[in-house]
């Protein structure tokens, strides 16, 4: 707790001795199946020409922290931003292997996935302290008031970590940008479709503001 406080204080004063300023860690956080890995892939394809993570319609596809170093992006004004992109497993309060069986996995595979997923959630929480900035990726078609969303954002706020909310899947009719904005009025919310690249330029522009 004292370390978190000191890190937050140093971060505010731009004197953070715990991390190199030239080596920003940008984390993608959120609940499972919000589109973190799809967004990570979009960023990496746009700027590195290669994908970063595998994606799936079955929850908890990403079960371990994935890092892509030296992602360099440019905005229209020619300004550059370099960061390490950290794709994290989705944070959840429950994991039921039977859900994976219902999605078509075999029992042994489902149990293995569940076990790995629990470790993934623990790792995601532990890594919160290492982030310099975080994009919280939410599924804009779902209720934004879930306690997982509130807990993630509350913990980032308590650690003084800058947050950008990416309301993903705005290409779908059910997407409700207004409800995401209403749920988190203190944060900048950018609506995107990571899958189709909709509004991705605005998202990149917001990354400059987030990390500045």
């Amino acid at each position: 707790m004292v370390t978190s406080f000191l890190k937050g204080l140093f971060k505010k004063l731009s004197l953070n001795p715990f991390s190199k300023k030239s080596h920003i860690k940008l984390g993608l956080y959120g609940p499972p199946n919000g589109g973190k890995s799809t967004l990570a892939n979009k960023i990496c394809m746009d700027w590195l020409g290669e994908e970063m993570s595998t994606v799936s319609h079955i929850a908890h596809e990403t079960r371990e922290i994935k890092i892509k170093e030296q992602v360099n992006i440019k905005n229209k004004k020619g300004k550059e931003l370099t960061f390490s992109l950290v794709d994290t497993p989705g944070i959840s309060t429950k994991i039921d292997y039977e859900e994976f069986i219902r999605k078509g996995l075999k029992k042994a595979e489902a149990k293995k996935r569940a076990k790995e997923a629990t470790k993934g959630v623990i790792d995601s929480i532990k890594w919160l302290d290492d982030m310099d900035s975080v994009v919280v990726v939410l599924d804009a078609t779902k209720d934004p008031y879930s306690q997982v969303n509130i807990t993630i954002i509350g913990n980032l706020q308590a650690r003084n970590i800058p947050v950008l909310i990416a309301a993903n899947k705005v290409d779908l009719k059910k997407a409700g940008m207004d409800s995401v904005k209403a749920a988190f009025p203190q944060y900048k919310v950018v609506g995107i479709s990571a899958k189709y690249g909709k509004n991705i330029e605005e998202f990149y522009e917001q990354l400059f503001t987030l990390t500045s």
């Binding site: 309060t93 994991i95 629990t118 959630v121 623990i122 209720d143 509130i150 807990t151 913990n155």
Partner: protein, 131 residues
């Protein structure tokens, strides 16, 4: 049958973070739904999720968690000041924390004006509580 266990704030007030989290989790693992006066600290909420993940097994599938808290945007300056003073003097007693076992509670929907708890047994709306 669904069993609710009320945990008044004074029961957790003097406990360390780890003991608070373990106390709630112990009740939940008895298939009871905790209704706690007040709320956990932000870090404790994350700890609760973390420890829950460590405890996941074929029998224990996790928790459903929700916190109802007064909407500060709807409070005037005096109400906000009272809230700050009450928190400083009495601890974080404002609001309610609901934690249930995922095997019993299917979903807790929490929007600014109400909280709804759906249980697995009935497959339908269980209890509705308004702020």
């Amino acid at each position: 049958m669904v069993t609710f266990k009320f945990v008044p704030y004074y029961e957790i007030e003097s406990l360390s973070s780890a003991k608070r989290v373990n106390k709630l989790l112990k009740i939940v693992k008895e298939d009871k739904i905790v209704i706690m006066e007040g709320r956990l600290r932000k870090q404790e909420e994350a700890d609760l999720i973390e420890i829950t993940m460590e405890e996941i097994s074929p029998k224990f599938k996790g928790i459903e968690l929700s916190v109802i808290y007064p909407d500060k945007d709807k409070q005037d300056a005096i109400q906000k000041l009272r809230g700050v003073m009450a928190n400083a003097l009495l601890g974080n007693r404002q609001g309610l924390t609901i934690v249930g076992p995922a095997s019993v509670v299917k979903k807790i929907e929490n929007n600014p004006d109400k909280i709804e708890l759906f249980t697995r047994e009935s497959k339908a709306k269980g209890k509705g509580m308004r702020k």
